[in-house]
């Protein structure tokens, strides 16, 4: 492989030899070569990152877009309205709405006969507003602070000990090298109504966490515990390696000033770790906005719905469900764009807030 590429390079080298001699500046001389080295990355990124980015934005504004045919009915905002359920019923839905329909409050569907005389059911898309968005926000605002605080505590403790430090460090890293789906299934066993947790805490086997009969709040608690458990190792690793890089002088200075343990932690450790805390905060905010595999691992495959699966919808779960059908893909694109905007806003806020508090 290296040989072939070398020959390709020599070939191009021959082509550009004249130019190479003319320019004396080293930077200039490397110019075309550098682009050759970058070519694979740039081509792949263009096809699989930059083009999709633009295309997804376009799709989000297309009416009745169908990806098997690539056809659409022009520009519209309906996809966004559909996602946010403000309006945006399709024509058939509107027809049903006007003609004789019956509304079922339990399933939240309109049943009736459309203009062609065909009986049909219309589901109103309340998934995002009712489930996905609140769930995603809740997951983010519970798991991110909780896991950062726990990870900080563990890494400060780890840093303060001498014996067994390596062993503990290794133990705390183990969840990182596991499969999110596989461990999610293990947690499903732990949280089973006849599982070990109910047994230990004596809750009885009618206390449901993740079964179909489980109330939303229980499912959410189980999910958050699992997400925190799974997100700890990375944070601990980052914090610990940052702690080990803090200059001892600061702690000596704090000791001379008779600062207590807590005061030292708040006034020395946290400010010294602030770049890492910001980094962890931004990455875990983005990560928890995209929570998906943990839900699948804990609650089941995305093909099963009903029961508590729909309750546990997240934005990304919604997007992947949309991709599966050709006619809802535009809605998925709209949701993805909204997710992107939400993430950008939160990241910008965090950078803004941290401007004064982070010490580089």
């Amino acid at each position: 492989m290296a040989n072939v590429l070398g020959k390709v390079k020599d070939f191009f080298g021959g082509l550009f030899k004249r130019k190479e001699r003319v320019s004396a500046d080293a930077g200039e001389r490397n110019n075309w070569k550098a682009w050759l080295y970058l070519a694979p990355v740039i081509i792949l990124l263009a096809i699989f990152t930059f083009y999709p980015l633009i295309n997804t934005v376009v799709i989000a504004f297309l009416k009745n877009y169908n990806y098997t045919t690539g056809l659409s009915d022009g520009f519209t905002f309906d996809n966004f309205l559909n996602v946010l359920t403000l309006a945006g019923r399709t024509t058939t839905q509107e027809t049903i709405y006007r003609w004789n329909t019956t509304y079922d409050a339990v399933t939240k569907t309109y049943t009736g006969i459309d203009s062609d005389g065909i009986a049909c059911t219309v589901y109103f898309q309340t998934d995002v507003i009712k489930y996905a968005l609140p769930n995603t926000m809740l997951i983010t605002f519970i798991t991110v602070p909780a896991s950062i605080v726990i990870a900080l505590l563990i890494s400060v403790c780890l840093h303060s000990i001498k014996a067994f430090q390596k062993i503990f460090q290794t133990i705390f890293f183990v969840p990182y090298v596991t499969n999110a789906i596989a461990v999610g299934m293990v947690f499903a066993v732990l949280f089973d109504s006849k599982g070990i947790l109910n047994y230990i805490f004596n809750l009885g086997d009618s206390f449901f966490w993740i079964d179909r009969a489980a109330p939303w709040s229980h499912g959410m608690i189980a999910l958050c515990i699992y997400i925190v458990w799974h997100s700890l190792p990375y944070k601990i690793l980052i914090f610990l390696s940052a702690l080990q890089n803090i200059d001892k002088q600061y702690y000596d200075a704090a000791k001379i000033d008779c600062a207590g343990k807590f005061k030292t932690f708040m006034n020395v450790t946290v400010p010294m770790l602030s770049p890492q805390i910001l980094y962890i905060m931004i990455t875990s905010f983005i990560g928890s906005f995209k929570e998906y595999t943990s839900v699948v691992g804990l609650f089941g495959s995305p093909s099963t719905d009903g029961g508590s699966t729909k309750n546990m919808y997240t934005i990304v779960y919604y997007i992947y469900d949309c991709i599966k059908q050709p006619d809802t893909v535009a809605r998925g694109a709209a949701a993805a764009l909204l997710l992107f905007i939400i993430i950008m806003i939160f990241t910008a806020i965090q950078f803004q807030v941290s401007k004064k508090r982070v010490h580089y």
């Binding site: 550098a34 694979p40 990355v41 990806y67 947690f187 086997d205 690793l237 995209k290 991709i323 993805a336």
Partner: protein, 349 residues
């Protein structure tokens, strides 16, 4: 200011200063008689002497370390418990798992769960698929990463900083933005059944599905960043020496830089391989048509999720162990590389 005013007041009223008082006291006969050699230091604050203070500090330290170790032990039990439970559940019978009394060790060790897994869950096929996808995409990533990192670390060209920051910016974009279009792109491949409803040419539908699990993942901006940092640490003198010896950039890259950056490359190799082993979402999308093309994680979740009636947790956990153990083995053997590679991100620079 304060001191000056006190001085002024002292002078005004003919008062003795603290220093004068001390000197007078030291000059007195009483003071002279004190045996200084048998004196002990007494710290007035808190009404304790130095020995007591030292003892209190020692006790505090011991209590502190007991609390610290206790907390760490407690947390590591929480961290490790799911693994323990996974192992023992895989050896239990369904009646024992669903029984009213939970046992912390299986009453009868049931190895048959594993046999059932191998009979019902096509583990070997899935692992084979995962290895094909994992190894090819990892090698591809390594090649593109080495080339790009070299260009960013060693070569000069117009717009270098701009392109590098654009690349870093792509890390902030959620992958879901790309997935939709990438799925459409992949589905439009000429030999993809989805496009024309028929298979033609020397590439089959299966090939295109595998290609779609490999090619889009040949670039990783994070690894480019990681390797660039490593390449930058290689001293300039080596490069100039190689130039004097008449070596080209290409030779320098493969003969000097790559061997020097081997630890980072090993980290990237292992992390990427683990990423392929754990990937779920994209393979689930593109292999929807045929279950035998799935990767190991997809096979895992869909195999035992909906069995009639009671879930077969024992068999499920046996399959979970089969998926988890290779990862743990990789971790045991390459712990240093994995932790170094992952931890590098948080260190600034």
């Amino acid at each position: 200011m304060e001191y000056d005013s006190r001085n002024f007041i002292q002078k005004l009223f003919g008062m003795k200063s603290r220093e004068q008082k001390q000197a007078e006291r030291e000059a007195s006969a009483e003071y002279q008689a004190i045996e200084t050699s048998s004196m002990t230091l007494v710290i007035k604050e808190g009404h304790t002497d130095a020995a007591q203070l030292a003892r209190a500090q020692k006790v505090g330290k011991i209590i502190g370390s007991i609390i610290t170790y206790g907390f760490l032990l407690f947390m590591s039990v929480i961290i490790l418990f799911p693994f323990y439970w996974m192992i023992i559940t895989s050896l239990k019978s369904t009646t024992e798992i669903r029984g009213n009394v939970q046992t912390f060790f299986p009453v009868t060790v049931l190895w048959s769960n594993y046999i059932t897994v191998f009979n019902t869950f096509d583990f070997v096929t899935y692992v084979g698929n995962t290895l094909i996808v994992g190894v090819i995409s990892t090698i591809g990533t390594l090649i593109t990463t080495i080339l790009a990192a070299f260009a960013f670390a060693r070569l000069n060209f117009h717009g270098k900083d701009l392109i590098f920051s654009i690349l870093l910016a792509t890390m902030m974009i959620p992958g879901e933005m790309m997935v939709i279009t990438n799925y459409i792109t992949v589905a439009k491949l000429p030999w993809y059944e989805f496009g024309h409803g028929m298979v033609n040419g020397w590439l089959t539908y299966k090939d295109s599905v595998f290609a779609s699990m490999i090619v889009p993942f040949w670039v990783s901006v994070f690894y480019i960043y990681l390797l660039r940092q490593n390449f930058k640490q290689i001293p300039n003198e080596l490069y100039l020496a190689a130039k004097v010896d008449g070596k080209s950039d290409w030779q320098f890259l493969w003969k000097v830089m790559v061997p020097l950056a081997a630890p980072t490359l090993i980290s990237i190799f292992i992390l990427k391989l683990m990423g392929s082993w754990n990937s779920y979402v994209w393979p689930q999308l593109v292999t929807a048509k045929d279950e035998s093309w799935r990767l190991v994680t997809n096979g895992l979740r869909s195999s035992f999720s909906t069995s009639a009636g009671e879930p077969q947790y024992g068999i499920q956990m046996a399959a979970t162990i089969l998926v988890t153990v290779p990862l743990l083995l990789l971790f045991i053997f390459f712990r240093k590389y994995i932790m170094k590679g992952v931890g590098r991100a948080g260190i600034k620079g």
